[in-house]
Structures are given as structure tokens and as C-alpha cells.
């Protein structure tokens, strides 16, 4: 008999206690603190100022981007990728001509290294990418990065890159410079489709 009444007492007191907490929360909670109307408003990104020279760091996980002008075709990012979503093909830089035979490169990167390879294919399949960021660390020229990281002024953060067609998510960064390169690319495309 005593248990019956203590049960009723605990039930009402604990439920009322919970109700008081909820009602307090109703009045003290600031409006719009927990949810946002997504397309109109967005969560602020954490500050990028991480206090030290973050040239070699990348603290964002978003769309991968390659500055092809700086790429030397060293294949380090391709080897680092755990899911093999980066595909690179290179060929040796052509000799420039009879008179300047020793120049076997196609330009200088912003880190002053010679580009000895022509990158004929640099494809990143963003449908396969697992956003682990492992490819950005070994890059000697810091030319592959997730957008919004160190180069955020040039490339603002971009995490909304859905496409109606899956093949649009395969980014082809290399510009087919030569005729052979163009043919090779087209042949590869046919293979992929078949």
C-alpha cells in the first residue's frame, strides 16, 4: 500500500521535474540557436586563422582542387590516396628545339622547381574521394588542396558541389596540350563509358 503511493509520488514528481526543466528551457533558450534555415543561413565556418604559418597545413575537408600550373607530376598524391581516386598520367617534357637542347622542362612552378613532366591526365573522381586529406600532405609544391584551406582567398570553401550527372564529378584538371594527349584522353573516355 505504501509502495503504491510512493510510486505515484515519484512518478508525478519526476515528470513534473522534467516538465519544469523543459518549460525553463522554453523561456530561456535564445531563438534560432539550435537550428538554421539552411539554404538561407549557414553555420559559420571555424576561423581559418590557426596562428602559425599554415602553408603546408590544410584544415578543411571539402572539394579537392589542383593548381595545374604548379603540378610537376611527381605522382605522390596518387600513391597516397587510399581509395585510388586520383589518376595521373605524365610524359616527358619535349625538347624545345635544336638550339636549346638542355631545356627539358615546360616551365617553373611558384616554388621555383622545374616542371620536367607534362601532365597529360590529372583526374580526380570526387564520387570516390573519402575526404581523408592524405593526398595534400606529401605534395612538394602544395598545389593539391581542399578548397577553402590555405588558398581560401583564391578558392573559397565549396562543399555544395552536387551534380545532376555522376560523371560531372570526375574533375579533369589537365589540359590536353598536344594532339596525342587529346587522343589519349578521348580513348580513355571511351573505355570508361564502355
Amino acid at each position: 500500500m505504501v509502495k503504491f503511493f510512493t510510486d505515484i509520488y515519484t512518478a508525478t514528481s519526476t515528470i513534473l521535474g522534467g516538465m519544469i526543466i523543459t518549460i525553463n528551457h522554453l523561456f530561456t533558450a535564445k531563438r534560432g540557436i539550435a537550428t538554421l534555415q539552411y539554404p538561407e543561413e549557414r553555420w559559420p565556418r571555424p576561423e581559418r586563422d590557426i596562428g602559425f604559418d599554415h602553408g603546408s597545413y590544410n584544415v578543411i575537408r571539402s572539394r579537392l582542387h589542383v593548381d595545374m600550373d604548379d603540378c610537376i607530376g611527381c605522382l605522390k598524391c596518387e600513391r597516397a590516396c587510399p581509395v585510388n581516386c586520383i589518376k595521373i598520367e605524365t610524359s616527358k617534357a619535349p625538347e624545345r628545339g635544336e638550339d636549346i637542347k638542355d631545356v627539358k622542362h615546360i616551365g617553373i612552378t611558384s616554388n621555383d622547381s622545374r616542371k620536367a613532366m607534362v601532365v597529360t591526365r590529372f583526374d580526380i573522381d570526387m564520387t570516390e574521394c573519402c575526404y581523408c586529406n592524405l593526398c595534400t600532405y606529401p605534395c612538394p609544391e602544395e598545389c593539391i588542396f581542399m578548397t577553402g584551406g590555405p588558398n581560401s582567398k583564391k578558392h573559397p570553401i565549396d562543399y555544395e558541389f552536387s551534380e545532376p550527372d555522376r560523371s560531372d564529378l570526375i574533375y579533369r584538371f589537365a589540359k590536353p596540350g598536344t594532339k596525342e594527349g587529346m587522343e589519349k584522353l578521348l580513348n580513355d573516355d571511351n573505355k570508361v563509358e564502355a
Binding site: D7, T10, A11, T14, I15, G17, G18, I21, T22, H25, A34, P46, E47, D49, I50, G51, F52, Y57, N58, V59, I60, R61, A80, C81, P82, C130, Y131, C132, N133, L134, Y137, M146, G149
Partner: protein, 373 residues
Amino acid sequence: MGLVHGEEMVLNIGPQHPATHGVLRLQVRTDGEVVSQITPYMGYLHRCFEKHCENVTYEQVIPYTDRCDYLSSMSMNFGYVVAMERLMDIKVNERVEHIRVVMAELQRIASHLLCTGVFGLDLGAFTPFLWALRDRERILDLFEFTCGARLLYNYMWVGGLSHDIPVGFVESTFEFLDYFEPKIDELENILAHNKILVERSADIGVMPKDIAISYGVTGPNLRASGVKWDLRKNDSYSIYDRFEFDIPIGEGKKGTVGDCWDRFYVRILEMRESVKIIRQALASMPKDGDVHQSLPKKIRPPKGSVYARTETPRGDLGYYIESDGSPIPYRLKMRSPAFTALSVMDEIAAGWLLSDVLAILGSLDIVLGEIDR
């Protein structure tokens, strides 16, 4: 009072039942509403983790460990790097150790918040779930601040970290802890002592000590059965032996020791202990130290094998790594804590009502990504 046995019916819960976490199929043999046998069928999330690891290099394994237990990726990374550092005999500096402990404990809070919230949700309490997720979101913000990712971090590396914590991280973590500590009391008051939840969970699905030990159940589930066993204290790794914290165990306050309520309440107590550890670790963290100091240039461990176990939010996580001297693991085996927790399901849940089965499943806190691997 004897039950009148009727015709038995086989019922499938899942694979995509909204009340189960992850994708799991429970084949339940019921007699009326009483469950007589439960057979879990898993494998819907199987991704060949162990075989896959034999094809990628040691540093590339870390993103895959993230995806095993996606609710506590930091702890999964931690276990792997502890095993690898033991195999390669690497000693990391003090700053790295402190940051790792802070991250692992923040992750433990985040994981337990989700578990307690979802447990309430399974039993019909919707408000605490939203509040728990709101607080968990702040922890994820801290992680995003640190490494850019919110769920799958790839933050701890063999011999260090992927990068140092940002300026202002320590302050914002302290700020979060000051905000969070009253919220634990709030969560406890609204959920743990609520009569409805107590009636639904106390004395239900009792897991006695001997069954828990013989099935190899670890972590909060084992501690709820009254066994004081925590790898952070009993087989200390990293720098956990320096911090002062208690190991909360189930005491059967509302019913029997080892019931659903105990398993749920131990997690709330553990969040408090984690807050203690984070405060101590942040206070004693050295200001300088390069997180890349002992990063090996090439991870090529010597021939041999290692087994290392760490305490994740779900229990003992063990990594057995067999190396043949190449940069690719010869064999990598993971001992998953949630797998053993699921295996005890039939033992403790048979004989209860169907609605209690969901309470028991929620209290075990399983993550299917880790069970199926």
C-alpha cells in the same frame, strides 16, 4: 504465474527498422508478445575492412579505421596508432600525448551523449535526444576547428598528429566544459530519474557479472554489471595513469545490478569522469612541442606482431597487426567491442517483451559499422 504457450511467430526487426541503429536484422521468435529467441543477422555494412588493410599502406589504414566506428573515430584512430607505435617502438612527445587524450575523451563524451539520447528516444523521450545532439554538435565543432572534419577525422597519425591544435582551442574547450557540466545534470534530471524511463529500463535485460565476463562484454556494459574494469586504469596506455578519475560501476540503484538503467546511467557518470580528465589534461598540456617530431619518414615496421588494446566508448578495442617488414600490413585484425555486446543479446533479452528488446538493444550501444567492419 505460468504463461500459456501459443503458436510461435518469427518476426524480423530490420534491416531498416527506424528503431535500430545502423543496419541490423534481428530475427525474433515470439510467443505472443514474449520473445523466446533472438538471432542477430549482420553483414549489411560489411566493407572488408581487414582484407582491405592488407592492400593499403599503414598510413592509409587510418581513414579506414575512422569508418569502422563512425561515432567514435578518434578513439579508433587512437587504438591503431597505439598499436603501431608499440610495434615500431616510437615514443611521442608530451604534447602529442596530451592532445590525444583530450581528443579521445571529447569523443567519449560525444559518443555517450548520442547513446544516452538515442536510448531515451527508443523509449519515447524525444526532448533529451535533441538536447544531447545539440551538445554533441558543439564537440563536433571543436573537432572541425581542429582538423576540418566533423565525423571522420584521420587526425591521429603514427608517431604524431596530422596537425597541431589551433590557437584558442584550449580556451574554447574549457568554455565548452563549463557550459556542458550543468547540462549533464539537466540530462540526468530530465531522463535518468524519470519514472517512465525507470519503469521501462530498471530490472529489464539484466546482465549478471558471470554472463558479461564469459561473453567477453567490455566497456560500459561490463562496468554496469558491477565489474570495475577499465583499460585506462587496469592496463594503462598513453598517459592515462597520470590523471585522477573514478571508474563508475553499476550499483543497481533503481533495480538489479546490470539492468538497462544501470547501463544507461554508467554512461552519464562516465561523461562526468571524462570532463575531469579533459580538465586535467588541458591544464598540464605543455605549451611547446612539435606534433610532427617523431613522425617516421616511411612507415616500415620491423618483422613481428603486436596486439594493443585501448578503451573506446564501447569497450576494449584491440588491434592485432602482423608485419612482414613491408610497408603494407600482412594481417590486421580488429577486436570489436560492439560485436561481443551484440552476441550477448540472445542471452539477456530472451524472455522479455518485444518492446523491452528495443530498450535492451539501445542500452547496449552497438555501432554496426564496427560489428560488420
